[in-house]
Point group: D2
Chain length 356, copies 4
């Protein structure tokens, strides 16, 4: 792992490298223990799965249980999700910087066999206009045919679609015979920022993922398939895509805990608040400038290049864009005010040393 | 799930439906809790993974750490394993009844794109002669080219390759330019039966899986790549095949527990012993006949057809072959003598009612 | 090419190695010259294609032009045809000896990603009963789901489905939610034998190929898609599967010639008649025994093993099954009575030498 | 076909729509007739193939016959070519506008399963600097791994790499563990422009295609594999990719004619000269401006938008970029001075009508 995203070696300080550096929430661990007693049928035919599916149906406003499926990780949720929408010659329009395009080792191309039609977008968000730019060529047998649009909520750079933006984009897509997939690895953070329900975020989307792992789970993602015509294929596609857990109860139990008492929302709010605290704290630090608005749990900052190395010696975080000296600081459900304040003090000290 | 393999609904009695009906071993749950504290780098760059990899290297006699990888489930271990060995036009020789061929929803064909060249074999085991029967056509551009042989240890029908059989088969394959993959979803049970080390079982194999899930884990499989030339591709193939866990420590910690104090072996021995107890107990029951020798934790029995339904009303198990009235009874690490004796009493009662 | 199918070196005598050893029919060459003058739009937007499509629509009883597509070879026709019918987790039931399974280097598995569920059948033909034997497992997410049945007319061993057999099989398939694909690489020979129109042979089939190459063309195959819902994807799938000819007129012109004045039928009848003449001629030769009924342009004969080598020194033909000493003698549209009689004399002489 | 590339309906005037609108050269038709007599072994084991392979080995400076393979079309040559170079997680760096990326309906992604890492480049050419821009991420398991670079000679916009540019790029690639593939659908035109041999153009390339179809053939492309380690897989990959012609002699015979007496070069020179004549002729026409330098057989011109429709009523050609009113005029081996002069007169008349 020699990518510029590789963090410096961890130490005892809170990592800002990724929200998946955090451990599992204590309630998650309790829930696994509770689920661990005795026998249960495999592959989801168990009471824990039944309960978690019902909770997710409720949270996403689904009318029946047939549209909720658990998988192991976010790449799988993305690949399985888009695989439901496409024939072999159909393509997905997505942002150039989308995880699906950049960070999944070509899984979409290899597993689904589809082309990704990418669109440059600075803030990570697609618009009807950007989507429209990839539609010429429809009907031409020489071109892969756009059939789905994949968006990310919150985006890779921490921004969030508003409800209005989602509605406008969704309506444009459906009016243009395009299905909408939403990568919700950080959907909880988006819901916390936008201030709406999960169902509200899913209103104009055909298939989406709801990430547990970055929200305090040990490792579990839910695929939500609102469109029943698309859902019938999921059991087979999931198995074939190597995502069918035999002891499914342990994936389901994690979601049950997150859904109960809205733990998912409290976790997301804490992470978001800590990112905001960090953003506020650096606003007046010389040599440090916010790169993107802070709308979830990531702070992207462009630094004086001389600041990066000293800070990485003490805190884990990624250089997001080496050319423009932008770094990414992620917070998690377990990031504390003390963690932020300690980091802010470090940033200020480094900046001070620089200007001294 | 309407297959003849679907068990009847579970009840409070011990399930004989599958070894994956068992919950996670209490020590597994403890280990997850221990691994759950604080931050750790993602994707395997953490001390839990380092430790578990070292333990597995030791158990399998690997000289360096570069050949151990964790994945989420058994299908993934099989598909990832064979994907390391093949070019697109190369094929895998396997038993007709292999899990890879029958029970993975065509994952090998879809994900790897390869043809499986199947061989009928009653006891689930391949021999040099059976492998040789699929070699004609080599060099002919019209034929998919055999390049790997996939075996299962213990097999789908509970039999085990002896060390001599493994050696003879491995030597034949390597002399014929064939790589060997071993599906070890129940490798622990095989080692317990054969009475040798994991390294002994792996001696003539290029890539194999070591199953944690059926051995008492919550859900984790290890891929062991003995051949360093094949190992370099694994990180990329694993990611692309949607098997890279971000919070890897929770997969690794499960294996650490299984390896410590040979918990894996004790779990396997208990399961095997209970299968043997069941087999011994039915030996004199009229209308019940062993179908395969009991060499691991599965008992396959051909029953008077009138016995099946009454027994399924009270115990969960699969009908393995509806035409010949053969059922499969699986034991697990947590099956007890009481569970077996209660089941045996039920079998005897049903058989008695029949002959009365 | 070291397969047992490789013929011995060619000499001046007529080859019985394959119907694709014959050259292009003189009328085909004339037609290519006629099509070769001046410009034409590419990719099928030309008058030659329009004409050939109309002729094929007429021959196959299609109501509109939207279901006829040209491709380069038989493997492509098979792969493109089945690709129209399947989602990634769906499977094709076919005969174990089908070209699709044996002789296409795993193209179906790699290009379509599907599993082939094979059925042993001595005469190359499937029946409702044989198809039904592969249906258990439907609805079980662990199993690839049967969705299509692929048959060959004439079969690999030269037999032909009767119209009644096709109707019974087609009705069974459609009643069981299975689509039917027919590999018609030698469809002309089957129509000549059965004594019916091409439309009659296609009556119960969803997609089929009509082979030009073995019928006297230079190289061209037609894919006939009777089901309009399946046809919309063909232009894209054909391009993506590398089968879109830019100078399409040269494929189309070949079919126009074959369709005009039923040249296809005369060619097929000549080949069939010569196979029958050969079969009749060997009926009383000691050491020579017909292996399959001669229903098209192939004669499969089991020989005294000592006969094979002397005959292959003078005539090109394949050993079909080395274990049972069965050879395959193919006739073509340009095989003459003299070719057959010369070969028969050679067979009789060799057999005589043997018994002398 | 509603794409902006679709030409207006053809009429009796010479088409400038594409070099594949031209018919087959008369000598090609003669050669097919010569090859059409009598039997020949299938799949390339025939004297026509042997001869054409030898001619191509000679033209490309190959030491042995093992590196020349015929396929049906250009998409296939590209896909087969890159499939030789890649493992499933490896990627191809290419120009954003490359045929491989834009015009092959996603064939690379679906058939090879690879990601294309695209680079914007106005003149269609890659440089070491542009290639280097896609190398970050190497070794990072989250990223598809660049392994090959695909270039086009002549490019999609008619420009040609010089020998020096090819050397510099090839050396950079090989020094950086990247293989080089060259799409030579118009390689003849490039050789004619650059003024060197085919071997010279291939000097720093691992695998390339040599297009016959746009050079006057009926339909045939050659894949040249300079690297013997890559060539062993071709027979199998070609068959599996549905590109193995049974009557191979008819593909081979086309190349024999093109190679004999350098017909390929004369054809290319004629097409190039006519493009140059057209470019010269428009240099002083108001409302018409060359968009790219004319270095092969395509003229790209940006027009006053009011000129496009009147010209398309009488001549077939494509609008290349609707937003910037750029059109593409292709010449072919059979384009004459009269064709060009007639077209130039039409352009001048239309431009005159506009300014009147």
């Amino acid at each position: 792992m020699t990518s510029p995203l590789t963090p410096s070696p961890a130490n005892s300080r809170k990592s800002f490298g990724s929200d998946n550096h955090a451990g599992a929430h204590p309630k998650i661990l309790d829930a696994l223990r509770d689920a661990g007693q005795g026998d249960a049928s495999a592959y989801g035919d168990d009471p824990w799965t039944t309960r978690a599916v019902a909770q997710l149906c409720d949270a996403f406003g689904l009318s029946g249980p047939g549209g909720v499926f658990f998988v192991f990780n976010g790449t799988a949720a993305n690949v399985l999700g888009i695989s439901l929408m496409l024939r072999p010659y159909e393509a997905v329009i997505c942002a150039e910087g989308a995880h699906l395009n950049v960070d999944e080792c070509g899984a979409a191309e290899r597993i689904v066999g589809c082309k990704l039609l990418t669109v440059p977008t600075d803030d990570g968000k697609l618009t009807p206009e950007l989507v429209a730019s990839r539609l010429p060529g429809r009907g031409d047998e020489h071109r892969a045919q756009p059939r789905a649009v994949a968006i990310t909520q919150a985006t890779e750079v921490g921004t969030c679609y508003t409800r209005g933006e989602l509605q406008r984009l969704g309506e444009f897509c459906h009016a243009n015979d395009l299905l909408v997939f939403m990568d919700g690895a950080r959907l909880a953070n988006a819901a916390a920022f936008v201030g709406c329900s999960l169902a509200d975020l899913a209103a104009h989307v055909d298939v989406l993922s709801f990430g547990g792992t970055k929200n305090g789970a040990m490792g579990a993602e839910a695929l939500i398939v609102a469109n029943p015509a698309l859902a019938t294929a999921v059991p087979f596609q999931r198995k074939q895509q190597m995502q069918l857990a035999s002891k499914m109860r342990y994936l389901a139990a994690q979601f049950s805990v997150l859904l109960a008492d809205q733990l998912w929302l409290r976790n997301a709010r804490q992470a978001n608040a800590m990112a905001q605290r960090l953003a506020d704290g650096i606003s007046d630090v010389p040599g440090v400038r916010l790169r993107y608005p802070v709308e979830s749990n990531g702070v992207f900052a462009t630094l004086d290049p001389a600041l990066i190395e000293p800070l990485q010696r003490e805190w884990s975080f990624h250089v997001w864009d080496a050319d423009e000296h932008t770094v990414r600081w992620m917070t998690a459900y377990d990031t504390t005010e003390e963690d932020i304040d300690e980091f802010l003090a470090g940033i200020r000290a480094a900046a001070g040393a620089l200007t001294a």
